[in-house]
């Protein structure tokens, strides 16, 4: 029953020939549509290839000027000065410190909220709270940046007056609040996927809800909870605007959240805001910084994938 497109067929009577021609165009059209859809799906692959190509291309030029060892070990970051130093550790320290503060808030709170919503909360509350948390995740990060700089920092300065106007602490706290919905939403989904029979078994043994949640449900859902944490980490590491607004943009090798410091992302924004000529070393620096960031988040994604595989419990 299959017509071969483009091949003449020997049929005398007019109607079948017409039909065959119609079928032929239909087959051709179907193939063309499938091809078009396939190319649309390939665009995502091209995006990845494009990202890697652009970052590597500019970074190669950068690393011809700056040896990789210098990039990894130098303790100063002054790419735009005459006496230029390119120590990525300086920016990495800001990124790690602010991410640490954010995760110290988002992971405990997010997990508690997830356990509460999945195991304790009445149905109605959960139905209201979940969409609300999703809304929170949709607020633009620049708004959180405003909040960190002009609400949280003054608040913290009242408690601790020596706190500088730009600091990693308030940026980290607000970043943590921003990440809570991601952590709690995915963890809760994972816990809800744990079959009821496991809980019933635990209750039948006389366990309380808290014991069931901590000793049965959380271990069973651990792979999902772990991927929620990983997502939170890569969110924190890649977050830009909160840090650019509230943490200041001076490079500062520090692990003290009370100080101002630039992160990898804030540095990229700072350079982009200036007027650097295309092709200069300063321009290439942001691609090298971007590559570092991409490798870091990629490592997080791979770790998440392995964790999921390692702790996957199938029911």
């Amino acid at each position: 029953m299959s017509a071969v497109p483009g091949q003449p067929t020997l049929i005398e009577s007019a109607i079948p020939a017409e039909r065959l021609a119609r079928r032929r165009t239909r087959v051709v059209r179907e193939r063309l549509i499938e091809l078009a859809l396939f190319f649309a799906a390939l665009v995502s692959v091209f995006t990845t290839v494009g990202i890697v190509y652009i970052l590597v291309k500019e970074s190669v030029v950068f690393f011809r000027e700056v040896p990789l060892v210098k990039f990894l070990t130098d303790t100063q970051w002054t790419p735009l000065f005459d006496d230029a130093h390119f120590g990525i550790i300086v920016l990495l320290s800001g990124t790690l410190t602010s991410s640490f503060v954010a995760l110290a808030i988002a992971i405990p709170l997010g997990t508690i909220i997830a356990i509460y919503l999945s195991e304790f909360a009445p149905f109605r509350l959960r139905e209201i709270a979940k969409p609300f948390l999703e809304l929170l995740g949709g607020v633009p990060t620049i708004v959180y940046g405003y909040f960190a700089l002009l609400f949280v920092t003054p608040l913290l300065q009242r408690i601790y007056p020596e706190l500088p106007g730009f600091n990693l602490l308030s940026a980290g706290i607000v970043m943590g609040i921003m990440i809570i919905p991601y952590v709690s939403s995915i963890s809760e989904d994972a816990m809800r996927a744990v079959p009821m029979s496991l809980r019933e078994g635990s209750y039948a043994m006389g366990a309380t809800r808290f014991q069931t949640a901590v000793k049965v449900v959380v271990p069973a859902a651990f792979s999902g909870i772990a991927s929620a944490y990983i997502l939170g980490i890569s969110r924190a590491v890649g977050e830009t605007m909160i840090l650019a607004v509230a943490a200041g943009m001076q490079p500062n090798l520090t692990f003290n959240p009370l100080e101002p410091a630039a992160t990898i992302t804030a540095f990229i924004v700072q350079v982009a805001l200036g007027d650097l000529p295309h092709g200069s070393i300063g321009y290439q620096t942001i691609f090298a910084a971007g590559l570092t960031l991409l490798l870091f988040t990629l490592a997080c994604n791979v770790a998440g994938h392995l964790l999921r595989k390692r702790f996957r419990e199938a029911y």
Binding site: E30, S44, V143, H278, G290
Partner: protein, 299 residues
């Protein structure tokens, strides 16, 4: 024994309380954020705020160039992201055979969703701005954001299509429909609400994105509008605006937030208020759509 049980029950109650408190912290912070911003910015919200260009004098500054820029960038983003995302989702659900090419595409989409948005900005800067020579234009920004929200649209499309039962397809094929006819007249109409939800969420994300647009080099101070898309003489439509320099709402807000003068902070709060209202409305619409969908859909 009895004491032990009581202790456990107490812990149970304590945790329930902790959960409530944690949830309240989330809710209250959000309320504080919104109320604080509304209080700071409400005095600045007026008709003039929407029709004035940014200015050195905070009292006269407005967001005209910002909201026009945002609208045009969103139009461009939707123009590219919606057809591409829906087509890719349809391909992966309805056409793709299980082979290594499909596997690569799927893994790739999952990974792209985890790439920080600023990296997309670097892609836009290197590829669209310089390689393709588009400059710091609305087109370059629209393309960058389109790539950024593509995974969101694709995943939503796939989920919507996956929830359509197999019998619908079989029924269509049994009547002699081709695969494309099945997709065009059955799959797409039945999944349209789910796809729309994904598109709205993606657009809400794009409208608030600041970092990638700053990275491709959008200007922070723009006191003119892009050329109008509609013209008085034929051919009436003009696409000059695609290549125009621009600014967007979040960048305008960033600019005002980073100024030291408190008067500009009020402007930032007002711009933030508009921005949050817009994203909340979009996300709320999406959540409501999904809720209605779940209730009405009984195959």
């Amino acid at each position: 024994m009895k004491k032990d049980i009581q202790k456990r029950k107490r812990w149970d109650a304590i945790f329930a309380l902790c959960g409530m408190v944690a949830l309240m912290i989330g809710v209250l912070t959000f309320t504080a954020l919104f109320v604080d911003m509304a209080l700071d910015g409400f005095g600045r919200l007026s008709w003039e705020f929407f029709t004035n260009y940014p200015s050195r004098r905070p009292g006269q500054a407005g967001i005209l160039s910002a909201w026009v820029g945002s609208t045009l960038v969103m139009l461009t983003t939707a123009f590219f992201a919606v057809p591409l995302g829906v087509a890719a989702g349809v391909y992966l659900e309805e056409y793709a055979s299980k082979n290594w090419v499909t596997d690569i595409i799927e893994i790739n989409i999952t990974n792209l969703a985890g790439v920080p948005s600023i990296v997309y900005g670097l892609l836009g800067l290197g590829l669209f701005v310089y390689q393709f020579g588009l400059g710091q234009s609305i087109l370059a920004a629209g393309l960058t954001l389109a790539l950024l929200i593509l995974p969101v649209v694709i995943v939503a499309t796939r989920e919507a299509i996956r929830s359509i039962p197999q019998v619908i397809r079989e029924g269509s094929y049994a009547l002699g429909a081709t695969q494309w006819q099945t997709v065009r007249y059955h799959i797409l109409p039945y999944s349209s609400a789910g796809i729309l939800t994904g598109i709205i969420i993606g657009m809400a994300r794009a409208i608030g994105e600041t970092a990638p647009i700053i990275t491709i080099g959008a200007l922070t101070f723009i006191a003119f509008l892009p050329p109008s898309p509609v013209q008085s003489e034929p051919p009436f439509l003009s696409f000059d605006w695609l290549m125009s320099p621009f600014t967007v709402m979040p960048i305008q807000m960033f600019n005002w937030t980073s100024r030291p003068e408190a008067a500009f902070h009020a402007n930032a709060a007002a711009a933030g208020f508009v921005l949050v209202a817009m994203t909340l409305a979009m996300n709320g619409l999406a959540i409501w759509l999904r809720y209605r969908l779940r209730r009405n859909l009984k195959w």
